[in-house]
């Protein structure tokens, strides 16, 4: 698949560190799928679809900074949608989002609402103004927030909110965010025997996005995050590298 040219039609400042880039092309996609966004002359990076026609980007380095410099009317190359995406199931679901991990979960919340599924979202961020897509989650159901500095909602990690919930109330649990956080969610699900009912969206170094290069493979299954994921059931992640280590661009293991 060759990159398609996509013109930026609108840029929305979501939080101090994230912007949403709306594109002039609508992908027939599932929540949780992603695209490879080519910022020409710089790099190509994986980005979840936060809408069928948009990506929501946190500025963290070279490529994301270059993307932040683009204006309405500029264009990027887009390959996708890629990956499996989340599978909706049950009558009542729980979403646990940390930081920009809210990007693939917001469309999932909306899709669930449209299918009359009850949605509860736990949304975390460093600070109150970094909470992403609060309105979208609220529009889709119930929402509770947590911030590291306590500026909005619960003070502390978003997983702190789980202590007050009974996981058994939910048919399925979806999570995307920093892996430490997701690791915690998996642990709690394990305690509650809920592992088969969890779905996690992983962030791994993606190079080819085509299931060929092997950069994104996880231990011990050898599954590829780019095409076999990025969403995996907790079953696959239990006793894996998940929450413990990942690999960098060269393939070296890095502790999380």
């Amino acid at each position: 698949m060759m990159p398609i040219n996509a013109r930026i039609t609108k840029i929305v400042d979501e939080t101090p560190s994230t912007k949403t880039f709306f594109l002039d092309l609508t992908l027939d996609s599932k929540s949780g799928q992603f695209v490879m966004a080519w910022i020409r002359g710089v790099d190509e990076i994986p980005m979840s679809l936060s809408y069928p026609n948009a990506i929501t980007v946190q500025k963290v380095g070279d490529a994301t900074s270059a993307l932040f410099k683009l204006k309405k009317g500029d264009s990027i190359g887009v390959r996708g949608p890629i990956g499996n995406g989340f599978t909706l199931s049950g009558k009542s679901i729980l979403l646990i989002a940390g930081g920009v991990g809210a990007a693939p979960l917001a469309p999932l919340a909306e899709a669930a609402r449209d299918e009359k599924i009850r949605v509860k979202t736990l949304l975390g961020a460093k600070t109150g103004d970094e909470l992403l897509f609060v309105k979208r989650f609220r529009g889709a159901g119930e929402i509770q927030t947590a911030t590291d500095d306590g500026s909005k909602g619960h003070k502390g990690p978003v997983t702190g909110l789980l202590d007050e919930l009974d996981l058994q109330d939910y048919d399925q649990i979806y999570s995307c965010g920093p892996e430490k956080m997701m690791g915690k969610v998996l642990e709690m699900a394990k305690d509650e025997n809920m592992v088969p009912k969890t779905q996690f969206s992983l962030q791994r170094y993606i190079k080819c996005g085509m299931g060929i290069c092997g950069t994104c493979c996880i231990d011990p299954s050898g599954l590829r995050v780019c095409v076999d994921g990025p969403v995996f059931s907790g079953d696959i992640l239990v006793d894996s590298e998940f929450g413990r280590y990942a690999r960098d661009a060269s393939g070296r293991k890095m502790k999380l």
Binding site: M2, C217, G251, R252
Partner: protein, 297 residues
């Protein structure tokens, strides 16, 4: 039907091998490919120091094939040796290595030897990493020298992976004289694409290598000419995705085939190719040996 082969002294349960640089970054991934039917697996090419590789896009699929310029990303042998140790088990594991000269090849080979790979494949053919790969591999003298060096420090078979050049036989002979136990042809062909919307080359590195179905006829010609001349094993690679492709290579004289890009469409390609070959041989009531090299006649 028995598809086992003896390949430069290694015993393979079938003649399909995972090509270098494909799903070869971790032990888990290599094992998964073996579980999908590969008769042997080759690791990602490993060098002396860590490399992050080229900026993206590193791989795109065009209408006619894949273009890639990964840039030899690898964690170095220091790190990879631990990974390699844990691959051992199901099928033979071949360590692909690269270096900028004979000494560096030696260093990497020695470094990885602790993990006891079943063979080494020397990457003398990557077309888009300056100073490595094809930069050396197009020079018969260097080919011979590098193979000799590595042979002098390891006690397992050494395969030489060569680039697609017109005078492939000259390179093959150099490899054989250097003591290679097998030659592997071909690596990707230098190529590129341009995004006409932006006028930008489509790969981050601008130029890269072409792989996939498009290059099959080119690879087949190299295999055919090498098999006509060399006495060591020739392993075919380039554009193989079906059992028919594999049979063409075997009829050209290849001892085995490596498969790369085709994992994109189906990671089960190894099993499917073996199954297809088996059915073909059963229908003809003949063995793998019976069809090997028939096109040479």
């Amino acid at each position: 039907m028995d598809l086992t082969i003896d390949l430069s002294g290694l015993k393979l349960k079938n003649p399909t091998i995972l090509a270098a640089g494909i799903l070869g970054t971790s032990a888990a991934s290599l094992k998964r490919v073996a579980q999908h039917g590969a008769g042997a697996v080759v690791t990602k090419s490993i060098g002396a120091s860590p490399r992050e590789g080229h900026p993206g896009p590193v791989l795109v699929k065009t209408e006619r094939g894949f273009l890639n310029a990964m840039g030899l990303p690898n964690p170095s042998y220091h790190e990879f040796v631990r990974e390699l140790e844990t691959v051992k088990g199901d099928v033979p594991v071949i360590a692909s290595i690269f270096g900028s000269n004979a000494k560096e090849f030696e260093e990497v080979a020695l470094g990885l030897s602790k993990a006891r790979p079943d063979a080494f494949e020397l990457n003398l053919s990557c077309p888009h990493a300056k100073g490595y790969g094809a930069t050396l591999g197009t020079d018969p003298l260097k080919v011979k020298e590098i193979i000799k060096s590595v042979k002098s420090v390891v006690d397992v078979p050494v395969w030489a992976k060569l680039p697609p050049v017109a005078n492939i036989v000259e390179l093959g002979l150099a490899a054989q004289e250097g003591g290679a136990d097998a030659v592997v042809v071909i690596n990707t062909i230098p190529a590129m694409g341009i995004d006409i919307e932006s006028g930008c080359p489509i790969l981050g590195n601008k130029v890269g290598g072409l792989s996939g179905a498009a290059i099959k006829p080119v690879a087949l010609r190299c295999v055919y000419e090498l098999c006509a001349t060399l006495s060591i094993d020739v392993i075919g690679v380039g554009g193989i995705s079906t059992w028919k492709d594999a049979v063409e290579f075997i009829m050209a004289g290849a001892s085995a085939v490596e498969i790369g890009s085709a994992v994109h469409d189906d990671i089960n390609v190894f099993r499917n190719v073996s199954k297809g070959i088996t059915q073909f041989l059963e229908k003809r009531q003949c063995s793998l040996e019976d069809i090997r090299g028939v096109a040479q006649k």
